[in-house]
Every structure is written in structure tokens, then in C-alpha cells.
């Protein structure tokens, strides 16, 4: 089916036929065929766990397929290892940044670009120059000498992008490169990707944001449960058709309507600051039933603010009042006891414990509530876990499955379940739908709305502008660690962008 659509007379850069791959009892790919032409941006979409990452990992040599064949530049390759793939001109941005935390940015880039030879001189100045040049190219304000462990998630993502773009590869695989990027970086990336396409590079682009697909892709392949549902030129399709192919049913792309009543004040911050976190003088109020979107550029300090509220980096100036009482939060335990829940941004490291069963993951934050006197009760735990798995439609073989057997989106749901299980009063969500497929995203949005309606106060950090605009009752914009503006529900994308860039002061005072 794919082949019928390939451009005749041209050898595809990459051609997969009937590739299968399974992990234990899970079939991630069930005979997928796929091709990539030179000078093409080929979007790959599908629900969480559809097998997109698995597919590109096979192409990148990170996984070996169980069966099926791979042709690159028309030649069949067997034994594809990461280094073989590199030598064949394949570069990959993995969904999860895979950098070396202890090495500098420059060296990280160099290790991805230089030829792998055991005994070769290292040219430090060249490495550094190259890094500076690439970082400048993608417009990342990162020093090449910082260690990657000191970078935030989005910054790491930018370094990954720099690695891929600098590699002179003919085939570039991008697995949700924009998941944690804001609009500005995304635009820049698109410009670069288009240039590459014009140079004849083939790009596989995975994203859950359909608008991106329509903005840059030439063709799109939809995966569903490990099977390809076909490839179509982007011009011949529309979002709702794609969604239907992806999820198998109609999903509204509209955000669920706001219907909650504002209740009493839940959280108010007065001049809150934390030197270590780089957050200064935040004054913000949040009522029960209200969803406040918190946005800004990468590194604006949104995550840091959340960490301050959750007691991971306690505040050193200002005051926090919760339900009308002044409180001091010095540890996550304090925060949980006060009814604050924080869904962290990096789900693999912070959100779920990958090697623990789902049931343990889900109850992990609510030990105090569920298990008085610290005695575990397995039935309580099991029932609760099963309830959440059902409520949030987590795709898994059961509550005893380990966290790492789930796809990213499903992990995110488990992470959310953990916090809902604490019965919080204030829910802080950090990029709640990052890397989540359309279907699940819509469900999560509905859940957030429902929670708000039930009287929860929600602080939603997000880089996804439509999401922020569609979900928030008010929008707080951070810039450089301070509150740049608080915008009302009816504001426009333009207002948000200019506030986060600091172009115009048009905020409505706090």
C-alpha cells in the first residue's frame, strides 16, 4: 500500500517491510511497512503505545526487529546497531533525551557527531566551536561548557536537536522533539527542518500535536496498535480523519467547556521567592474550582515555582496561604499533608517508578491516607489501583504490570492517578499532556475539568499554547522567574506570546 504511493523512479531513503517487534507478550509492531523519500517530512502519528517510538528505534538500531526487512538507500541491512545506523547516515532524536549527564554539552554533541573510533585524538577546541555553532543555529541559549545534568528538560531536548541537526545525516528521526518546547523554539526548529528537507534529507517526524503535522509534514502514516493504517499525503487529509484512524473513533478536538463555580480561595502567594530556584516575588491567587494556566518560555521558572510550592526547593521569601491559613512548606510531605499534589514534568524519572508495579506506583503518595499505622493492605491497594486504571483508561495488562511496560502516555496517566489518589485540594500539573496522544489528551482534559468542578484548584503548567488557552480560567505568564502577566480567559495567543517574550506590558494586575 505504501509502495503504491512512493514516487516512482526514486529510491526511497528508507524502506521497512512487514516489520514486527514484541516485548515479552506485548506486540509493539505487527508487520508494519513504511518508506521515507529524500526531501520528505514523513509524519508518524498514533495513540500512545501504538509503536511509533519502537519503529524509529528499530530504524536507529536501538532495537532489533523480530522479523521483516529494512532497506536503506535501497540496500537491505540486517544487523542494524546504533553505530551502524550512524554510519549509514541516520540520526535520531529520542523521545526521552538520551544525553550524558556528567559530560558537558559540547562533549555530548561531539560524541553524537564524531566517528566512533576507539583510539582517536580528541580535539577539544573543535568540539567546542562546533557546539557553539550548532547551539546558535537552533537558537538555544546554552553554554557549551555546562554539564547536561544542570540543564532542564527542554534544554536537553534542544541539545538533542542540535546533535541531530549537526550530524549531516540523510535520515533524521524525530520522536516528539517539541514535546517540551514552547512556540518560539518550535518555530525555529520548523524553519531548520524545512531547510533540511530542501537539501534532500528525509525526516520522520513524530508528534501528538496535529497542528504541527499539518504545518510541516508532506505525508503522514498513522499507526494503531502496532499496525499501520496507511500513508496519505497531508494535503489529502484532515485532522478529524486522522484522529479517527488513530483512535478508531471520533474525538473532539475542542476543549471541554468550563462549567465550574469558583469557590473559596485555596491558594494565595504573596511575594513568594526562592533564590536557589530563581523564582522571585510571585503573587498569585487560586480559587477552588479554578484552573490557572501557567506558561512562559523554556526556563522561565514555571517548574521551579511548582517545586517551591511542593517543598522540594522551599521558599525563602514571601508567604503561602492555603485555605486561608498561612503555611510553611519545607518538604513534599508537608505539601501532601496540606493537600497539594504535584504531577512532575519528567515522568520517567520523577513521575513513575518504572520498575514498580502500577498498583504500588498509584498508592505511593497516599500511604498516610490509605494505610493507617503503616500496615500495607493489599486489597485496598489493588482495588484503588484497578479503579484508577479503569477511570483513566490506562492501557495495561493489569495492576501488577510494571511501569516500564507502559507507553509514555499511559505512564503519564498512572502518574496522574497517583496524585488523584491523594485526594488533593490543590493540583499542580507540570506539562500534564506532554507526549500524550489526542485521545488520552482529551480524556485528561476532561478529567482536569471534572476535578475542577469537584472543587479542586488546578495550577496547570503547559507549553502547549492551545491547551493553555483552551483550558485555563486565567493565564499566568512567567518570565525570568517573575510573574510577567496574568491574563483573563478570553486573551489571545498573541497576548500570551508577547507577555512571555516581554514585548509589551499588557497584563492585568494580580
Amino acid at each position: 500500500m505504501n509502495l503504491s504511493q512512493s514516487i516512482p523512479g526514486q529510491i526511497p531513503l528508507l524502506q521497512l517491510s512487514a516489520v514486527t517487534k514484541s516485548f515479552g507478550s506485548v506486540s509493539a509492531l505487527k508487520g508494519v511497512s513504511f518508506d521515507l523519500q529524500p526531501g520528505e517530512i514523513h509524519a508518524l502519528i498514533g495513540g500512545n503505545g501504538a509503536g511509533k517510538s519502537t519503529l524509529i528505534k528499530i530504524v536507529a538500531g536501538a532495537h532489533s526487529p523480530d522479523s521483516g526487512s529494512i532497506k536503506i538507500h535501497g540496500h537491505r541491512v540486517t544487523q542494524l546497531t546504533p553505530s551502524a545506523a550512524r554510519n549509514l547516515g541516520i540520526a535520531c532524536i529520542y523521545q526521552q533525551p538520551s544525553l550524558f549527564p556528567d559530560l558537558t554539552v559540547a562533549e555530548n554533541i561531539a560524541l553524537r557527531l564524531e566517528k566512533i573510533r576507539l583510539f582517536a585524538r580528541v580535539h577539544w577546541t573543535n568540539r567546542r566551536l562546533k557546539a557553539v555553532q550548532l547551539l546558535k543555529l537552533i537558537g538555544a541559549d546554552i553554554s557549551p561548557d555546562t554539564e547536561v545534568r544542570d540543564l532542564s528538560m527542554p534544554q536537553q531536548q534542544l541539545v538533542e536537536i542540535a546533535c541531530a541537526l549537526g550530524s549531516k545525516a540523510r535520515i533524521i528521526l524525530m520522536d516528539e522533539p517539541t514535546a517540551s518546547l514552547t512556540h518560539k523554539e518550535q518555530e525555529r526548529l520548523f524553519a531548520l527542518v524545512r531547510t533540511l528537507r530542501n537539501d534532500g534529507v528525509g525526516i520522520i517526524y513524530i508528534s501528538h500535536r496535529l497542528e504541527e503535522i499539518f504545518a510541516i509534514a508532506d505525508r503522514v502514516t498513522v499507526l494503531r496498535d502496532g499496525e499501520s493504517t496507511g500513508t496519505t499525503p497531508v494535503t489529502e487529509t484532515n485532522p478529524s480523519a486522522l484522529i479517527k484512524r488513530m483512535v478508531g473513533r471520533e474525538v473532539s478536538t475542542l476543549f471541554p467547556p468550563a462549567e465550574s463555580q469558583l469557590g473559596p480561595m485555596v491558594l494565595s502567594l504573596r511575594g513568594l521567592g526562592c533564590t536557589a530556584g530563581g523564582v522571585k516575588n510571585i503573587t498569585l491567587d487560586l480559587r477552588a474550582g479554578e484552573i490557572v494556566g501557567l506558561t512562559g518560555l523554556v526556563g522561565a521558572g514555571r517548574t521551579e515555582l511548582a517545586r517551591v510550592l511542593f517543598g522540594i526547593t522551599p521558599a525563602d521569601t514571601g508567604e503561602i496561604s492555603l485555605n486561608g491559613q498561612w503555611v510553611v512548606i519545607t518538604s513534599p510531605q508537608d505539601a501532601i499533608a496540606l493537600g497539594i499534589a504535584y504531577l512532575p514534568e519528567d515522568r520517567r524519572r520523577q513521575g513513575v517508578i518504572l520498575e514498580m508495579p502500577l498498583s504500588h506506583n498509584i498508592t505511593l503518595a497516599s500511604h498516610q491516607r490509605l494505610f493507617p499505622r503503616n500496615w500495607l493492605r493489599h486489597t485496598t491497594e489493588q482495588t484503588l489501583a484497578e479503579k484508577f486504571i479503569e477511570d483513566l483508561a490506562v492501557k495495561t495488562s493489569g495492576a501488577v504490570a510494571l511501569g516500564n511496560s507502559l507507553s509514555g502516555g499511559n505512564q503519564q496517566k498512572v502518574s496522574l492517578a497517583r496524585w488523584l489518589a491523594t485526594k488533593p485540594k490543590l493540583l499542580i500539573l507540570d506539562e500534564p499532556t506532554q507526549g500524550i496522544d489526542i485521545g488520552a489528551k482529551n480524556e485528561i482534559h476532561k478529567i482536569i475539568r471534572r476535578l475542577a468542578k469537584e472543587g479542586l484548584a488546578v495550577l496547570m503548567i503547559s507549553s502547549d499554547l492551545p491547551e493553555v488557552l483552551g483550558m485555563s480560567d486565567r493565564i499566568a505568564v512567567l518570565r525570568g522567574g517573575t510573574l510577567a502577566a496574568i491574563l483573563p480567559r478570553q486573551c489571545t495567543a498573541h497576548q500570551v506570546m508577547s507577555a512571555s517574550l516581554g514585548l509589551k506590558e499588557e497584563g492585568v494586575g494580580a
Binding site: 513534599p332 510531605q333 512532575p344 524519572r349 513521575g351 517508578i353 505511593l364 494505610f371 503503616n374 500495607l376
Partner: protein
């Protein structure tokens, strides 16, 4: 056979150990001299108490992906201080015993402070206190001093019998049940595993990471203090070299028992089986007629080989799976 099937039918680590123990006992009963006697099993239990205790408390530590190399030295320091308290400070033996356990706790707290509070790596911290505590024991006694002639009431802790069983059996059972409940039935155990799998994940889940870490090291100290008492009582003497090398035996038993050294995975019953395997092996080898003269060396070698085999066996299905393609 496909590796996947292999993984499925590959028995649990604990089961393998249990089978191994049965095989050991059968073999030694058949070929060993007077192996299968009540007296001998009593001996085995009596001799494995201290290492058993240390291995028990090492289990939660390793579950948190930590390690404690200082338990043997803590035992030595406690033994010496117990002697000091009882003989030189003239404390009532009971009071001295309680103080000794407290001192053990203090040693543990010292590790806990550095590991949990200052976030220093456990391997290095306990390597330093390994040297420090032993050194203190030597400095206090100038190496020379040995404490003896303890009262009969105290020596009961080492040689007494309660019912048909030696006192050691009771202490070990009590400790095993305690630690088992802690690790397998309480939220503490859950926290240890979470920390072992991912300290950052545990922190973001709002678990009291520092408190839990402190807990396991203090517990190890307290139990090392207790072990110093049973050791002194069994042996009748307290000297600065008490418990030398016990940390390695304890770690060996824990790892043999299936606890993953990187944390998260493991069980207390596995540890007990590990202790039993080693103790029986040690004892049985010295009863095989042709090997009696090299039993000590041999038991070291066999322990090492066993450790390698156990690990290899547990890694084999993964390895096959990974290399099949």
C-alpha cells in the same frame, strides 16, 4: 526452548535456593560425618546468629540501593564498649546491654547523618566508618585489653537454651519476623524499594526519603549493637577485633538470597535462605572425609562459585533473550 518460555518456567530465586539447600543437606547427610544430628544443627544456628542478624538488616539497606560496610566494625566497637561499661564503669549488665545497643544505634546514626542528610555515597561513607569504628575499638583498648568473666546471666545470651532450642534460634527468629514484617508488610518496605529503584522518583512521590534512609542505617547500627552482645556472650570475651569481616559475609548472604545490589528487588526470606545456604555449606564441607583438611579454603571458593552461579542463573534468561536475535 524459546527464551520467553524459559523466563516463564524459570523458577523463583528463592525456590532455587531452597532446592539447593535441600540438595546440600541431603548430600552432606549422606557423605558427611555426623552431619544430620541435632547437635550439629544447633551449632549451625548458634554460629550463624550474628551474620544472620547483620544480613537481615543489610537487606533493607541494599533494597534502598545502599550498602553498609561498617557493620562488622560497629559490632567490634560495641563489644569493646560493652566491656568498658560493664567492667570499668561498673554498670549493671542489663543497663550496659541497653547502652551498647544504643551505642550501635549511634554508630548507625553517624552513617545515617552522612548518607541521608549530607547525601554522600554510602559505599564511601561506610568504608570510612569501617576504618573509623574499628580504629576506635583498637584505640580504646590499645589493642590489648580483652574483657572476660562476664556474669552467668549475660553468658546465657550466648550459650543458653530456651525450650529445646538454643537462644540464638529465638533471637534470629524474632529479628527475622520483625525485619520481614518491616520490609514486606509495611509502607516502610515499600519506601525502601521506591528509593532503591529511583531516589528522585521517591522524592517526587513525597516519600520521606531522608528519614527512611536514616532509618535503615540506624536500624543496622542497633542490630549490630545487639549482635555484639550475642557475640560477646557466645564467645565469652570482648575484644577489638570482634566481627572482623562480617560485613562481607552479610553482604554475600543478602546477594545470594536474591536481593539486587542496585536496590529495589529482594526479600528477607531470600536473605535467610542465603544465610542458611552459606552456613550449611560451611559446616557440611568440614564434615566431608576427604576434604576436611582444606575445608576452610574450600568453603571460601565454593561460596564464591555459588555466588557466581546464582547470579549467572538469574541473568541467564535475560541474556538468552537479548542474544537470541
Amino acid at each position: 526452548m524459546k527464551p520467553q518460555q524459559l523466563t516463564r518456567i524459570w523458577p523463583q530465586h528463592e525456590t532455587v535456593l531452597l532446592l539447593f539447600i535441600i540438595a546440600e543437606v541431603t548430600y552432606f547427610s549422606l557423605f558427611g560425618r555426623r552431619f544430620c544430628t541435632v547437635d550439629n544443627f544447633t551449632n549451625i544456628v548458634r554460629h550463624s546468629l550474628e551474620i544472620g542478624l547483620l544480613a537481615l538488616v543489610m537487606t533493607p539497606i541494599i533494597l534502598t540501593a545502599g550498602i553498609d560496610l561498617s557493620v562488622g566494625s560497629t559490632l567490634g566497637l560495641c563489644a569493646v564498649l560493652f566491656g568498658k561499661l560493664w567492667r570499668d564503669a561498673g554498670l549493671d549488665p542489663w543497663l550496659a546491654q541497653i547502652c551498647t545497643i544504643g551505642i550501635g544505634g549511634l554508630c548507625g546514626a553517624c552513617n545515617a547523618l552522612l548518607i541521608a542528610q549530607m547525601k554522600l555515597p554510602p559505599l564511601i561513607v561506610t568504608l570510612a566508618t569501617f576504618s573509623l569504628f574499628r580504629g576506635l575499638a583498637e584505640a580504646i583498648t590499645q589493642g590489648v585489653d580483652a574483657f572476660t568473666d562476664f556474669p552467668e546471666s549475660f553468658l546465657f545470651l550466648g550459650s543458653g537454651q530456651l525450650g529445646q532450642l538454643p537462644i540464638q534460634a529465638w533471637i534470629l527468629s524474632a529479628a527475622a519476623i520483625g525485619v520481614w514484617l518491616l520490609v514486606h508488610r509495611t509502607t516502610f518496605g515499600r519506601c525502601f524499594r521506591a528509593i532503591g529503584f529511583s531516589p528522585e522518583g521517591a522524592l517526587y512521590a513525597g516519600l520521606p526519603v531522608r528519614r527512611q534512609l536514616a532509618l535503615v542505617y540506624v536500624l543496622a547500627g542497633l542490630v549490630a549493637g545487639l549482635a555484639s552482645l550475642t557475640y560477646t556472650a557466645r564467645f565469652g570475651t570482648a575484644k577489638a577485633d570482634a566481627g572482623t569481616g562480617y560485613e562481607l559475609f552479610a553482604i554475600t548472604a543478602v546477594v545470594l538470597g536474591g536481593t539486587r545490589i542496585f536496590g529495589g528487588v529482594g526479600s528477607v526470606h531470600g536473605t535467610l535462605l542465603g544465610v542458611a545456604t552459606l552456613a550449611i555449606l560451611n559446616n557440611g564441607l568440614s564434615r566431608l572425609p576427604n576434604l576436611m583438611n582444606i575445608a576452610s579454603e574450600l568453603s571460601g571458593i565454593v561460596t564464591g562459585v555459588l555466588l557466581l552461579l546464582a547470579l549467572t542463573a538469574s541473568a541467564l534468561p535475560h541474556w538468552l533473550k537479548a542474544n537470541q536475535k
